[in-house]
């Protein structure tokens, strides 16, 4: 009550200006506060500067390349930067990047979610620790090692699977196989799936672990079996987290370079079948062409890098939109 009386009676001294009041409310600043403020603000600004510098660089060099391009940059099925005038287009790369990432996601997301559910809701504690550790190890393997393993182990052993797919699903067109070496989008997708599995698993596991006990008990008390508890309480609660986890994985799959470059036998055209070798991705194309490219060739590769950058941004934006649309129903309201 004391403070109220003081504010109610106007003080005899002249009123402090709003700026002075604001400063007083903030309290006395000490050197430590100022240093920390400067450091954190500086870090934030630095991040923006770096982002702007990258975007500016990409846009500037890309615009040089695209202005010299004789073919349509977005639809041309060729990449001839050594000739005058240069002709190049990204259609093949867009297709290859998206297809290989979709294959990877289709394989990795269900497996990762299943592993995460097993670790959080089925495995005994003695087992879940070591398994989680092995998954962390998978994430620590460098991508070139995955590439080598893919080229030396995966590729030579794919013939059986390819034959089987061709026999039973060849009629779809997507899984027909003309018998070429299995250095195709499917093998790339499988390898990418293994590479993005740990990140999706780990994030999903964290999310599933945070499901409040009371939601699981609510389902149990209604007579739900363990699987029904997971379906009613765990998966809906974790859905937006699993989407975020998948987007992290997708980001890695879209930009993966060395593993794709080592396994794929690239061509600059589009294969209707996932099993026939050929095609290419943005990152693989940049990695394999950059060292031999001339000035225009480099700028053209940079232009393709800018497109990859934009695709990644769009994917992230889409994921955010999906999460936001479900916000009213998310566990955060509980």
């Amino acid at each position: 009550m004391d403070t109220k009386e003081i504010t109610d009676t106007p003080p005899p001294a002249p009123q402090p200006t709003p700026a002075e009041q604001k400063r007083a409310a903030r309290g006395a600043t000490r050197p430590g506060d100022r240093i920390f403020l400067g450091l954190s603000r500086g870090s934030g600004i630095l991040l923006l500067v770096i982002m702007a510098a990258i975007a500016g660089f990409l846009t500037y060099r890309a615009s040089i390349a695209i202005s010299k391009d004789e073919a349509n940059f977005f639809t041309a099925f060729e990449w001839n930067t050594g000739v005058v005038p240069p002709r190049f287009g990204i259609a093949v790369l867009v297709f290859g990047t998206i297809v290989s990432s979709i294959v990877a996601m289709v394989i990795a997301v269900p497996i990762a979610v299943a592993i995460a559910l097993f670790l959080t809701h089925y495995a005994p504690r003695r087992l879940s620790g070591p398994i989680a550790y092995v998954i962390d190890l998978l994430a620590a393997v460098p991508s070139i090692v995955y590439g080598l393993w893919g080229a030396l182990v995966l590729v030579p052993n794919m013939n059986g699977l390819y034959g089987w797919l061709d026999d039973y699903l060849g009629w779809t067109g997507i899984f027909s196989w003309q018998g070429g070496a299995p250095r195709s989008m499917l093998t790339v997708g499988i390898l990418l799936a293994i590479m993005i599995l740990p990140i999706i698993t780990n994030v999903s596991r964290e999310v599933f672990r945070q499901v409040p006990q009371m939601h699981e008990e609510a389902a149990l008390a209604l007579g739900a079996t363990r699987w029904e508890v997971i379906r009613m309480a765990v998966i809906p609660f974790g859905r937006s987290g699993v989407i975020s986890a998948s987007m992290l994985g997708l980001g890695r799959a879209l930009g993966e370079t060395m593993a794709v470059a080592t396994v794929l036998s690239p061509t600059f055209d589009i294969q209707a079948s996932l099993l026939d070798p050929g095609g290419g991705t943005f990152a693989q194309n940049i990695a394999s062409k950059f060292s031999e490219a001339g000035d225009i060739g480099r700028d053209a590769l940079i232009a393709s890098g800018l497109v990859l950058f934009v695709i990644t941004l769009l994917v992230n934006g889409g994921a955010r939109a999906i999460i936001a649309r479900r916000k009213e129903y998310s566990g955060a309201n509980a």
Binding site: L222, G223, P236
Partner: protein, 258 residues
């Protein structure tokens, strides 16, 4: 519908720790039985043994018998899942499924039990929400999330969800402890109506509440911290609060505890 509960020689453990020791009691159908006692005396644990929720806790196990009419809940070949479909439960904190609408929350238990036609579901949902005195407040927003309701409304939603599957027994673990007095009154009125159809067991820390809503009251106590909780006595509520037969009960309800 409402069934009698007959407990004999029930002991519950958390790992090697004995939480409640050798409890026997009978709960009459179509009545409200209140459990009172100090914190840690095992009344919630005992409540959770009545629908086999206790064993969900890691290390939780039970010895003894719980008969629902003539069926032993812990008998051979009895599936805990089917027990919980017969014995519903309402928890301390309102816990509607945050990802489901009001309608889906109430229908959740039914959907577990099999497939229903849309019109059948709608009928049961309406009946249950009316039974929980919530229908008039939510009938225009059945498709909105249940987590948007007030705490008291959420708790009545949870009661609607529990009674939608027509259990034989309804267990309530301090259902009003997170609610304001007006919401508490609404739940207490509701309990009075529900006992016409269900056997109700309620754990409460609020002795006035026990006196208001229950027909019989059981007093639990523990001799010291770390010791297992015991049933001291169970009797008509009126008797417990006016003239209990054990001195410890009188000390507790008159505030001379500890």
């Amino acid at each position: 519908m409402a069934k009698r509960i007959d407990v004999s020689g029930l002991t519950a453990y958390y790992g090697s720790h004995k939480a409640i020791d050798d409890i026997s009691m009978t709960v009459e159908p179509r009545s409200v039985t209140a459990f009172i006692g100090p914190s840690g005396c095992g009344k919630s644990t005992f409540l959770r043994t009545l629908n086999r929720m206790h064993e969900v806790t890691p290390g939780g196990r039970v010895e003894g018998k719980v008969l629902l009419d003539d069926e032993d809940l812990y008998g051979h070949g009895i599936d805990p899942v089917s027990v919980r479909r017969e014995v519903g439960m309402v928890f301390q904190r309102p816990n509607p499924f945050p990802t489901m609408s009001i309608f889906d929350n109430v229908a959740a238990g039914l959907r577990l039990n099999g497939s229903y036609k849309k019109s059948e579901l709608a009928d049961v949902v309406e009946k249950s929400l009316k039974g929980a005195n919530l229908w008039n407040e939510v009938k225009d927003r059945l498709n909105k999330p249940g987590s948007g309701l007030s705490g008291g409304q959420q708790q009545r939603l949870c009661i609607a969800r529990a009674i939608a599957v027509e259990p034989n027994v309804l267990l309530m673990d301090e259902p009003c402890s997170a609610l304001d007095p007006i919401s508490t009154l609404a739940i207490e009125d509701l309990i009075g109506e529900l006992k016409e159809r269900f056997t109700i067991v309620i754990v409460t820390h609020n002795m006035q509440q026990a006196a208001r809503v229950s027909d019989r009251t059981a007093f639990f106590n523990l001799s010291a911290v770390g010791q297992p909780g015991k049933l001291i006595e169970i009797d008509e509520t009126e008797r417990i609060f006016s003239n209990p037969s054990v001195q410890a009960t009188e000390d507790y309800i008159s505030g001379r505890f500890g």
